[in-house]
């Protein structure tokens, strides 16, 4: 008996963050539109992509996003799981699939995880930090929630290009430097970063205090604090090693300072 073949129309959007284009395929036009709006400014017209994911929209029972994320590797593929999504990704074929409900938060988490995995072996990383370009140079402002990432972003002068108020994207450039890229990953400011990039000139470890000042930081403290603020998900020994070496390399090559500031735009007089 001849089979009944059903041709399902698939739609794609290419999202390029950090110069790495990722194609997301879906059969749902409403979800496609949601992605195009969510990642406006990072949607690429490029046809060739580095990674390809089929997004399968699933009705609940997926639970919320408040459960712990688990990222494990086995049998040649990464498995990414959280209450609100389940994704697989095969590095060898550069293809994967994502099962989630129709919301932008799950895909956001998957993209962050995939980029951390891709960057780790290249000596790059995602960092809990705001970042901005000024005078052609990128500055990172790292800190835990409440340290002042959103505040320093709000205080940025008109001549600064805000790359993100929440999650910075850092790639190693040749052997001697790093480049920061804008990301669509937002914090309290809820404003997408600019899709721009510049060489990293300095990392500031944020602290709020009674005056604006910059203090030196030992290279060991810089390493510890950088590691504490790096986004890292994989339960994988090799990836932990890559991330550790990436942090150590970074603090040997990029100046790291402690930036204490009051919520006052004059702090930017010290930057750049």
């Amino acid at each position: 008996m001849p089979g009944l073949a059903v041709q399902v129309e698939r739609y794609s959007v290419v999202i390029a963050i950090g110069g790495i284009p990722v194609r997301l395929n879906t059969t749902d036009t409403a979800f496609l539109e949601l992605l195009q709006n969510r990642y406006a400014g990072f949607v690429s017209e490029e046809d060739s992509t580095e990674y390809d994911f089929d997004v399968e929209l699933t009705p609940p029972p997926f639970t919320g996003a408040d459960t712990d994320v688990r990222v494990t590797y086995g049998a040649g593929r990464w498995l990414l799981r959280r209450g609100d999504f389940r994704a697989e990704w095969e590095p060898a074929t550069r293809r994967g699939s994502i099962h989630q409900t129709a919301n932008p938060y799950s895909i956001d988490a998957v993209l962050r995880i995939v980029h951390t995995l891709v960057l780790a072996k290249q000596g790059g990383f995602l960092l809990h930090s705001a970042s901005a370009i000024r005078n052609g140079k990128a500055f990172l402002f790292a800190g835990v929630s409440g340290a002042g990432k959103t505040t320093i972003s709000r205080l940025a002068p008109a001549d600064a290009t805000l790359l993100t108020d929440e999650i910075s994207y850092v790639r190693k450039h040749n052997d001697d430097g790093y480049v920061a890229f804008g990301t669509p990953f937002t914090g309290e400011l809820a404003k997408l970063g600019e899709n721009a990039s510049a060489p990293v000139a300095a990392l500031y470890l944020l602290a709020q205090g009674p005056e604006n000042r910059i203090d030196p930081v030992t290279v060991a403290d810089a390493g510890r604090e950088l590691l504490a603020n790096m986004l890292f998900f994989a339960e994988d020994q090799e990836m932990v090693h890559w991330a550790f070496q990436a942090a150590c390399d970074f603090v040997h090559r990029v100046p790291v300072h402690r930036l204490t500031f009051v919520p006052d735009a004059r702090v930017w007089e010290l930057i750049g």
């Binding site: 930081v217 290279v219 060991a220 510890r224 890292f232 020994q237 090693h241």
Partner: protein, 117 residues
């Protein structure tokens, strides 16, 4: 004490000297440790072939000017503690070099800078 103890760096550990501090990170659980000066010497000397008492005599006693017996006792306790955290391997037999983490000498040259400007 007649028994010999051998110590080796765990291959599950990533380590770098940053400034004057040795940072080690466990591959399982992503736990970060900062080694004190004695633990750093122990880690650097833990080649799996040199007995612990020899490491104490040659590296630890001259560095900290302590009595050999006391130093040996402390070093053994420290080695046990590091082993408990998965940082060192301990055996009464020499430990194969295949199970030892890469030496950190290659990165110590990067550790000259103590304080960032």
């Amino acid at each position: 004490m007649n028994r010999k103890l051998y110590v080796a760096r765990s291959p599950r550990i990533a380590a770098r000297m940053l400034g004057e501090e040795m940072l080690v990170m466990s591959g399982q659980g992503s736990t970060l440790f900062t080694l004190n000066p004695t633990a750093t010497i122990l880690w650097q000397s833990a080649d799996g072939a040199t007995p612990l008492d020899e490491i104490v005599d040659r590296r630890i006693c001259p560095e900290f000017e302590v009595q050999p017996e006391e130093a040996q006792r402390d070093a053994e306790a420290l080695a046990q503690d590091l082993a408990k955290h998965g940082i060192l391997l301990i055996s009464e037999q020499p430990i194969s070099t295949q199970s030892i983490a890469k030496p950190v000498a290659s990165v110590q040259q990067q550790a000259q800078e103590k304080v960032r400007p």
